[in-house]
Symmetry: C2
Subunit: 401 residues, 2 copies
């Protein structure tokens, strides 16, 4: 599935190159990634998906991540809605969503994080990202099946998520109130979840309002022009907290957030949003790209001090997926050849290092120098999501731009 580096001309800058890239993403999705997961992961005995898979698809843990169930269902419904209405995709997605509805909700309406194979709750987290993935799965299902109940559930769960995340004092704190901190993560996941609800359920003022609020937070609190950086965590007033946690940057995460803003800028035809997204990419590419070994570092320190997380220089699959999307979208939005070059660079490095030529899909975790740290294709954290989302979205962007 790898596209060979094409001398000094990035593929994005020629029509033939764009066709080559389109085929790479399309064929990678349909003939490499999806066949790794389906029908293999479908648990016909207990429902849902078995997603903790070794390199060859062997199940190495039967526990089920609630994130994974929602994310995989969303991916399947999205393919059904946007590529073609294959009955399998709809049925498999519904298989995942039914398991979620049956087992993943606690009596307080909030969701669990990890379940046994037969759906008994193992763990619930303070934060509510499980809810985001259930919301987008329901929204995509509402469109795929014309299911009003799913549309209603998507709105309910999104409302619960935003209330839980943005009502001061509601979420049990991990820290005392000595040094309040706010995170970039909840803002960008709110934006992309609202965008998904809008795409599948139609526009609504409450969605625009949440997107506006989160963009405003990012612009005023997390983006730091004086340092040319996007912070991951800041004080309640946007102050940089000069401690390990406060200084830690997550370049791939910032770049993921950047493409959500580019997508919003394109949707709204808002040049200032596109400029903001590109600015975020520029800064965090500079911070994140490893000049020595290639690939994107996981964490960096805003002041170039040592990062406390000892695995900080590892290369994870998902920041590369997100950066491939972000640079492609930035090129489409601006025509700036810099983004085509970066896109080629991260596309080539990632396909070369993460892809498995034998069994398909990508490995998840590399050491700084590109050696694999384990052979897993799926785990509590990695399932059928970031990589196929990239393949699907890049294919669609290339087909329709």
């Amino acid at each position: 599935m790898m596209v060979a580096p094409n001398s000094s001309t990035p593929l994005l800058t020629t029509a033939a190159g764009r066709q080559q890239l389109l085929a790479c993403y399309r064929d990678g999705l349909l003939h490499d990634t999806l066949p790794f997961w389906f029908p293999r992961s479908i648990d016909r005995e207990h429902g849902g998906f078995l997603h903790c898979l070794d390199h060859d698809g062997t199940v190495v843990d039967t526990d089920k991540s609630v994130w994974a169930q929602g994310r995989m269902s969303w991916m399947l419904f999205t393919l059904y809605n946007t590529i073609e209405p294959r009955p399998d995709w709809l049925e498999w997605g519904q298989h995942g969503l039914q398991f979620l509805e049956r087992h993943a909700f606690d009596t307080d309406g909030r969701m669990f994080f990890q379940l046994t194979r037969d759906g008994r709750p193992l763990r619930k987290r303070r934060y509510a990202f499980s809810e985001c993935f259930a919301a987008i799965a329901h929204a995509a299902h509402a469109k795929a099946a014309g299911d009003n109940r799913s549309a209603e559930r998507a709105r309910e769960i999104f409302e619960l998520f935003t209330r839980w995340n943005f009502t001061p004092g509601l979420m049990p704190p991990k820290w005392t109130d000595t040094r309040p901190m706010i995170g970039f993560g909840p803002r960008i996941i709110t934006i992309v979840t609202a965008q998904e609800l809008r795409a599948n359920l139609g526009d609504a003022p409450y969605l625009t309002s949440w997107i506006d609020r989160c963009i405003d937070d990012i612009r005023h609190w997390f983006v730091k022009p004086e340092l040319q950086v996007v912070m991951e965590t800041v004080g309640e007033d946007g102050a940089i907290l000069d401690h390990f946690d406060g200084r830690t940057l997550n370049p791939g995460h910032a770049i993921e957030g950047a493409w959500f803003l580019l997508a919003e800028g394109r949707y709204r035809k808002d040049a200032s949003l596109i400029a903001l997204g590109c600015q975020m990419i520029d800064w965090m590419w500079e911070r994140g790209w490893d000049q020595e070994f290639g690939g994107l570092f996981y964490f960096r320190d805003v002041y170039h001090k040592p990062v406390q997380e000892y695995w900080q220089d590892m290369k994870f699959w998902w920041p590369h997926n997100e950066t491939i999307i972000a640079t492609l979208l930035a090129y489409i939005c601006t025509g700036d050849v810099k983004y085509a070059r970066w896109h080629q660079q991260v596309h080539d490095w990632a396909h070369h290092h993460f892809s498995d030529q034998i069994n398909g899909e990508w490995f998840g975790y590399l050491h700084r120098d590109g050696r694999r740290s384990n052979t897993l294709k799926g785990s509590l954290w990695k399932s059928c999501f970031h990589h196929p989302r990239m393949q699907w979205l890049c294919w669609q962007l290339l087909a329709h731009s």
Copy 2:
């Protein structure tokens, strides 16, 4: 401070070699490790120790780990009690202990985990390891200063720790009760804490009783002769839980626990305990030693399946400190030259890879191949504890055995 590999004869097997090792540990402690930390880390403005230090001693975070305050005070009092009564050591240890007493206890008697420089609480954890380190610091202070109040505090805090850890339902659960798990960690930390209280406050039936109970748990639940392994986590009935978390081994941690058992076997003149400790070392050396790059892996899978933690093959400083102690003690207890060879092997690898010839002390975190992952000497997790404890204990063992 490194002792050069001495052809095929391990240093431990000759009198001259033992003198060479003794000098290495003694001089390393007194002239390399301690001067890195003291007086540099003493915070005369706000009390306690500033321990988040870069390779050259620069403070990179002013937050204070409650573990570090207790551990560093314990180390100083222990040197005062066992090496020589240097007034500085007593005064510096009291400086740390006063900060703990003033700032580290919550109103419920339990301790915080992380404080600001001026002692305001940032974080409290479910588990109660902060309490163990405060208890041993108080016990060592009771002996150093003849302070009855510290003796009383040590007993109180130990009682609180054991009640918190071993009363079912008291500690807020991280998981639901769907799949109850028990850990090796609380057992071994109870043993070593009780041993420290016994050493400094005198023997007492409640200490013996706690040690007995924890040894019994380890023997019956965590040690698996059929697999030749020591588990880190098991079900309540000792069952191996065939999931990522249940399968994950921590060889350095098991070997640390093994030397606590060897020490207990020596104290009680109990050959069966010494045999158990040696058995644990044998199995976990086999599981943990990296035949390709040397050093001890952090995590392994009991069934040789992939480990979910992506940094699982990193080399951390402390498992090497604990394995140097364990192999030395096993050699002293048994005279088996195998342990002298392993001791030489881990001693050489660790000193070669972790020590900083320029600024002293050890670095903390290496990639599998021995490259450093960051330049920190101290952090929320690493302070003046495992490394000087090894140097102190190995010196004392060689001097008195």
